[in-house]
């Protein structure tokens, strides 16, 4: 058993997620909101990798004559890699949008971007 209980990681992830959520909900600046989203994505990644490390299926194997348990998949890491790739795409498009909005409205404050108000 590893030295660190899995819930330590989960708690860090929860904290990151909550802080990210708070940032997303309360920041005036669109760039700041994007930062909150990135924090949440990081939290999710951390969660996925932690649970991959601690809870993915294992196989019994013989290595150098000794019997060991090997993790049979790398799915958690693969998941995180995809999330990172998509986060990069999201950041690129999101920031491009922010710059485009800034060009036309001279502001990136979300509270002033309420053209869809009923």
């Amino acid at each position: 058993m590893p030295a660190i209980p899995v819930w330590w990681y989960l708690m860090v992830a929860t904290g990151l997620f909550s802080i990210g959520l708070y940032a997303t909900l309360t920041r005036r600046n669109a760039v700041n909101v994007l930062m909150g989203v990135e924090l949440m994505l990081n939290a999710v990644n951390l969660n996925a990798v932690a649970l991959w490390r601690y809870a993915s299926p294992t196989v019994s194997a013989t290595v150098d004559g000794q019997s060991v348990q090997l993790l049979s998949t790398l799915d958690g890491q693969v998941f995180a890699i995809f999330v990172i790739a998509l986060a990069a795409a999201e950041a690129a498009v999101g920031l491009a949008l922010i710059i485009a909005v800034y060009r036309s409205r001279r502001t990136v404050e979300l509270e002033q971007l309420d053209m869809l108000q009923g």
Partner: protein, 780 residues
């Protein structure tokens, strides 16, 4: 001998040549090339097609003699290209060559060749001068029009040949519709004539009704067989599927109606035939279709396209006879309907034909009548006889139409000689008729198609006359001419089954067809006497010249066919002639694709004598009424003395009016085609009627003023008072309620509007609030 397996592989050339001709002519039109060149291309195309289709027939004849149904049961099938992959198989375009398609294709090829050559001369009027509806004269337009005619007919020939050779029902339908399109285009060839445009529309729409049924039939068959290939559907196994299929049960509440599949399929397919072959009750388009140029009438509306419907029934005959697959001649399933429709059509159209004055219109009704013969023959299981009649009729009816065209051409030229003005031919006569017409049932002296304007053409146009006589004799069933043998075979079958075997429907058919045979002889006699005999009735007839060689020679060729073709189908039982000739047609055609065989009919003198006697009687009566003094009957048709009955026939049983009433009240759809002969009520009767109506009207007026108006005014006063009360309530109670509702809604909306902040973070807040509740409920 020709090998079918070799020449069959080239069957695609048959429609291919004509289609190539079509494409080339379209290119000629697009580039503004010569119309004469286009005509030559069209003739070359069809001649090349014929050069393939006739050897194909010879090869098919040589391939005959298999043990189980011969070529019919084991036809040569060629796949031209795979069109659509469908389900397990593919839908191919290909050729199925069996006796039926080989014989019909050869017939179509020969006829089309003759008619194309004829048309090069007949349509030449388009080239010389041309004035359209606006009166503008432009030789280029005429040139293009001449070329366009040949483009259309080439495309039509493609359609007909492709249809005949089709290897599956859907391919057949495609070419069938190509024919329909060409028919539409050619009927409306002089589209600036309102009557022609209307006739084209009528023909197109009427046949569409039948085609809808046809398509439904195809879909049912595809559903049952998973294929539309003839070889699959019409093989013994395929017919077995149809035979064993569970009936379609329609549930009407507690009651249910079980429709046998054979009946359903047969009636649906037959629906297509009724439309295309102008069977009752969808026959109304064919007489109007005579608005098209005469070669078109000969080609499409007499010889080929209309017989495509009959061909379809013949092709699908195993399906019609599926109830008794091993006794193909017995009458069962949908064949009752087929027989009844055919017989009714044959007699009804023949009776109408006796009263018409337009030379082409008489032939049109004659065509309907003869198609009825074929359909009735198929209906009573006389498959071979029906196909035989299909072939012979195509030749002699095409001959008659071409002959009539020659006559019209001659009369028209005679008129030009007389007046020295006016251009074109059959299209501008009707167009130039004065609006009021020439009185009830009187002839327009400028109409070159009216038989009452003819006479003495026997001397003016001898070759036309003699060839026309050959066609007439064939049509009326005078012995040794082709029509006699084919018609006699139908009548013999009907007699055999109806009188000797006591099958009611066959007896009914025999009776009606025999009557129709009499009528046929009668109206053809009438036509011949009115047209060719007696003194000339107009300047046109007086100066009519013999037609151009290009028009006459095809007549001669067709006349030879009309005279001699019958000998391929002489009954074997006929003493002397029969054994000598051996009835090759029956041996060739007497098998079905299921392998079933039609036994040769036992020869009996009685029906043959009966038909000869009936035909002779018809001629005799015709001579008695019309032959003795043609000039007089041209002035006033003796039959007109029959009064109402004659008028009913003259108005074609007023079916058009009925359809107009039922389908749509606009009279143009059915009246315009015979606008020149609008019936006029008798003036005297009209006067009395008017007086009566006037008196009634006065009385009515008084009652109206005193009683009705009083009541109405009273009701009006009461209404006014009531309305005032009502208005007050409306303004103060109802409107107030409505406004209240609107106000409340508005206020609520004003509040709800605040939810729509347009700020993304507010929405996100709501999203996560909802998520919180949802996940919270899940976790707790």
């Amino acid at each position: 001998m020709l090998d079918l397996n070799v020449i069959g592989g080239y069957a695609w050339l048959i429609p291919g040549f004509t289609f190539a001709a079509f494409v080339v002519i379209m290119a000629i039109i697009a580039t503004g090339g010569s119309g004469r060149l286009a005509a030559r291309v069209a003739v070359a195309g069809i001649l090349l097609s014929t050069l393939v289709s006739v050897p194909l027939l010879l090869a098919a004849l040589g391939a005959e003699g298999g043990e189980h149904g011969g070529l019919a049961a084991e036809p040569f099938v060629a796949t031209w290209w795979s069109w659509l992959p469908m389900g397990e198989g593919t839908l191919d375009f290909g050729a199925l060559i069996d006796p039926l398609s080989a014989a019909t294709a050869a017939m179509v090829g020969i006829l089309c060749s003759a008619i194309f050559i004829y048309a090069t001369a007949y349509m030449a009027g388009e080239l010389e001068a041309y004035d359209d509806a606006s009166g503008a004269v432009d030789p280029a337009v005429g040139n293009a029009r001449y070329a366009r005619f040949f483009a259309y007919v080439s495309l039509f020939a493609t359609g007909m040949l492709g249809f005949v050779l089709a290897s599956n029902l859907l391919q057949a339908m495609v070419f069938w519709e190509i024919m329909g399109l060409c028919s539409f285009l050619l009927i409306g060839f002089w589209y600036f004539k309102p009557s022609a445009a209307a006739a084209a529309k009528k023909a197109f729409l009427t046949t569409r009704i039948g085609d809808l049924f046809f398509f439904v039939g195809i879909m049912i068959l595809f559903w049952m067989h998973g294929s539309v290939d003839y070889t699959t559907m019409l093989s013994h196994a395929g017919i077995g599927v149809l035979h064993d299929a569970a009936p379609l049960v329609l549930q009407f509440g507690p009651a249910s109606l079980a429709i046998p599949m054979i009946l359903l399929v047969g009636l649906m397919i037959f629906g297509g035939t009724v439309g295309k072959s102008a069977q009752f009750p969808l026959h109304v388009w064919l007489p109007d279709a005579m608005e098209g140029p005469t070669p078109v009438s000969a080609l499409i509306h007499a010889a080929t396209m209309v017989s495509a419907g009959v061909f379809l029934v013949a092709r699908m005959y195993p399906a019609f006879a599926a109830a008794t697959p091993d006794a193909p001649g017995s009458i069962s399933g949908p064949m009752f309907v087929v027989a009844a429709i055919g017989a009714i059509t044959a007699l009804g159209a023949a009776t109408i034909a006796t009263t018409q004055f337009d030379i082409k219109r008489v032939l049109a009704y004659s065509t309907i009548s003869q198609l009825g013969y074929m359909v009735a023959a198929l209906g009573i299981g006389a498959y071979v006889a029906a196909v035989f009649h299909l072939i012979t009729h195509a030749f002699f009816k095409a001959l008659l139409f071409l002959g009539s065209g020659s006559v019209i051409h001659g009369v028209e030229h005679g008129m030009h000689h007389d007046h020295g003005h006016g251009h074109g031919h059959d299209h501008d006569a009707a167009a130039s008729a004065p609006a009021g017409g020439y009185g009830a049932y009187a002839a327009d002296p400028r109409d070159p198609q009216d038989m009452r304007n003819m006479g003495n053409l026997r001397e003016r146009m001898p070759l036309t006359f003699w060839t026309y006589m050959a066609g007439t004799l064939a049509l009326t069933g005078i012995p040794v001419w082709a029509g006699f043998w084919s018609k006699d075979e139908i009548l013999a079958e009907a007699f055999h089954k109806g009188i000797q075997s006591q099958i009611v429907i066959a007896g009914f058919v025999w009776l009606l067809l025999t009557l129709a045979a009499f009528m046929t002889a009668f109206y053809m006699a009438r036509q011949v006497f009115m047209t060719f005999f007696g003194p000339p009735a107009s300047e046109g007839a007086r100066h009519a010249p013999e037609s151009a060689p290009a028009m006459v020679y095809p007549l001669v060729v067709l006349a030879i066919f009309a005279t001699l073709l019958g000998f391929v189908g002489v009954p074997e039982g006929l003493p002397g002639l029969g054994p000598a000739l051996g009835n090759p047609f029956h041996h060739f055609m007497g098998y079905l694709s299921t392998g079933a065989h039609f036994e040769s009919l036992e020869f009996s003198w009685l029906p043959m004598l009966a038909s000869v006697v009936v035909a002779a009687l018809g001629w005799l009566v015709g001579w008695l009424i019309y032959g003795r003094d043609p000039a007089a009957v041209r002035a006033q048709d003796p039959l007109q003395r029959l009064g109402g009955a004659w008028k009913l026939l003259y108005d074609k049983y007023r079916l058009d009016e009925l359809y107009g009433l039922v389908v749509r009240s606009d009279p143009r759809i059915h009246r315009e085609s015979d606008a020149s002969e609008a019936d006029k009520p008798n003036a005297e009767q009209l006067g009395r009627l008017v007086a009566l109506v006037d008196a009634f009207g006065t009385l009515n007026g008084q009652i109206d003023k005193l009683v009705v108006d009083g009541l109405v005014n009273l009701a009006g006063r009461a209404g006014e008072v009531f309305s005032r009360v009502n208005g007050w309530i409306d303004a103060n109670v109802v409107d107030a309620l409505v406004n209240l509702v609107a106000y409340v809604n508005g206020e609520i909306s004003r509040g709800l509007k605040l939810l729509q902040t347009g700020r993304v973070q507010n929405y996100l807040l709501v999203v996560f609030f909802s998520l919180l509740i949802l996940v919270g409920a899940f976790v707790m």
